[in-house]
Amino acid sequence: MTTVALKPATMAQALTRAMRDALAADPSVHVMGEDVGTLGGVFRITDGLAKEFGDDRCTDTPLAEAGILGTAVGMAMYGLRPVVEMQFDAFAYPAFEQLVSHVSRMRNRTRGAMPLPITIRVPYGGGIGGVEHHSDSSEAYYMATPGLHVVTPATVADAYGLLRAAIASDDPVVFLEPKRLYWSKDAWNPEEPEVVEPLGRAVVRRPGRSTTLITYGPSVPVCLEAAEAARAEGWDLEVVDLRSLVPFDDETVTASVRRTGRAVVVHEATGFGGPGGEIAARVSERCFHYLEAPVLRVAGFDIPYPPPMLERHHLPGVDRILDAVGRLQWEAGS
């Protein structure tokens, strides 16, 4: 336990610090992407890295996402650990073939001879008033691609710890950064940053007894807020922050739902074919005899991400979550 006083820090600062520490600790770590050097990234997450480590270690690339990820593959083949920034969620799509056909499969293809320790940072999700193509939640694509880790922090400390763990991982990690939490603050001591346990562990953010909210990334604070609001209804909600979508922490999730008997999966991504389908399906499978009511999902609608002025209608908010929780209680009573 540290005795240093905790100062509030933003998730953005924690991410920057994680890359800085990784660059300092391991000469094979290289940061690359569009505008990550001189500018420090459009979200300033790589701010100062080029200055401190030089543009060979933090590199402005040409504007071509497949090229960025494809060259990162080659760099990883030669023993480097590239940390790639995709400028926005939707701008990772041009790199999809490299991701699916190579990044995710190279270890398997070569029977383990050629692992690719690449971290692919993707600012994702909505709620920041972004115009079209700047607010996608694309995690379903990554979850459906074996060979990738898919990780997303919801707190400042996790942002640091999970990014360090991602960079240290010998497997490729898609590291999804919830854009709208970039400026969220937590008490966190950047002088003694906490390194979290290995990737793949969910955490109970708030213990509760009546229903489990299963969520991750940008929806974690929303669920915590909903849990607070639910007290007025007499509901004691448990909030599980998955942190890692792949690998999936069945143990933590199953234990929680077996305890509460009810579950709602909450995420911003489109409902149909989205991450919640997998989560709800495996919870239903593993907790069938414990469930008092069906596992419900509160997700983005099955529509392309809406324009800024309408996004509030699309995003799962406290009310929609409480509605779902309410429907579960009714089911139980029926």
Binding site: D35, A64, P94, V131, F301, D302, P307, M309, G326
Partner: protein, 381 residues
């Protein structure tokens, strides 16, 4: 004869008899960008055209200023200004016939406006009330494309389709220097050349892709040198010289319309403002560089020419300014009204017929909104 067959048959030929498939020399750009203003060529330029371009430049500059101001007032979510690039924006719109198509990138709202799209509708995307605010078929302006270079194959496909249908329609597609690095740029150029499609590619090389300068984007002698690698002509033009851009684009459009195939035009210009209002350009470039380009400003160049030739009287200046102010005033007024939004639109245009699932979701939102409207009690749980 089919459109496809016109290019002739192919015989792979063993090297002793091998010949280049076309003569590369005419496809290479000149060593210096084509210029008209301030050169001898200016004497031949049509005074009417000069005046028209001048008025459009003034109007464009004002439009850029007004749109930028609207971001400060919170009326636009974001605005990527084309200040300093008005010559390209305006010329791209003016060289086209009504039946032609313009494919703008996210920075090219001005080109759309110069082609006749209502500025409020052109700015819908950046205001945030909907994505594309105008009907693309009305002025034959494709939706502003945010994913860089992705609009280029669309332009090729459209031009090809028009040719297949026997229509003499040309597509003009706009892209930035940064966008030329994307795979879609390459694929579009190649399809256009192989299909001999009536399409003109206008690269506005404004020196930067956000913070990344051209030297980190390409090592080519010029971007126009890419053309020969596809078998199409590459042209280099002073992008701040509206007459030169108009002439080079006009030639390319006529060439395409006449069945001569595509052209790649690189216009050398400069982004005077930051990338968008949200960007801080001082992080990556010095003011001296910007100053050098202010001396080569498109409006300045035009004014000099017009003045020298005695073509710019006070009336013309005043008329141009009044027109520009009228545009700005109208834009201001209308953008200061809150847009009328219908959340139900979210579900209306996902498919031709909404699915049962979407109808369910629409009903859910309807109910939520009704509850919200009914006040805290109605909304209560």
């Amino acid at each position: 004869m089919t459109v496809m067959e016109q290019r002739g048959a192919y015989q792979p030929t063993p090297p002793p008899a091998w010949q280049p498939r076309t003569d590369p020399a005419p496809l290479l750009p000149d060593a210096q960008p084509y210029r008209v203003l301030g050169t001898e060529a200016a004497a031949k330029a049509d005074p009417e055209l000069l005046r028209r371009l001048y008025a459009q430049l003034v109007r464009g500059r004002r439009y850029n200023a007004q749109a930028t101001a609207l971001t400060k007032q919170g009326r636009l979510a974001v605005y990527p200004s084309s200040t300093g690039q008005e010559a390209c924006e305006v010329a791209a719109a003016l060289v086209l016939e009504e039946r032609d198509w313009l494919f703008p990138s996210y920075r090219d709202t001005l080109a759309a406006v110069a082609r006749g799209v209502d500025p409020v509708e052109a700015l819908t995307l950046l205001r945030g009330d909907w994505h594309t605010g105008y009907d693309p078929y009305e002025r034959r302006v494709a939706p502003l494309s945010t994913p860089l270079a992705t609009q280029l194959p669309h332009a090729v496909g459209l031009a090809h389709a028009a040719r297949l249908k026997g229509d003499d329609v040309v597509a003009l597609a706009m892209v930035g220097d940064g966008g030329t690095s994307e795979g879609d740029f390459h694929e579009a150029m190649n399809f256009a050349a192989v299909w001999h499609a009536p399409v003109v590619f206008l690269v506005q090389n404004n020196g930067f892709a956000i913070s990344v300068p051209l030297a980190k984007q390409t090592a080519a002698p010029s971007l126009a040198h890419k053309a020969v690698g596809y078998g199409m002509p590459g042209r280099l033009v002073d992008g701040n010289d509206a007459v030169a851009v108009h002439e080079v684009l006009g030639e390319a459009v006529r060439h395409a319309r006449a069945g001569g195939g595509p052209t790649l035009v690189e216009a050398l210009t400069y982004r005077i403002d930051a990338h968008t209002n949200a960007d801080d350009a001082t992080r990556y470039r010095g003011e001296d560089e910007v100053e050098a380009w202010r001396d080569h400003d498109p409006i300045l160049l035009m004014e000099r020419e017009l003045t020298e030739r005695g073509l710019l009287d006070e009336d013309a200046v005043r008329a141009a300014q009044e027109d520009a102010e009228a545009l700005a005033a109208d834009l201001r007024t209308r953008m200061n009204q809150d847009p009328v939004l219908d959340p139900m639109d979210l579900f209306a245009h996902v498919y031709a017929q909404p699915t049962t699932q979407l109808l369910e979701q629409q009903a859910q939102l309807r109910a939520e909104l009704d509850a919200e409207a009914a006040g805290p009690e109605g909304a209560g749980r």
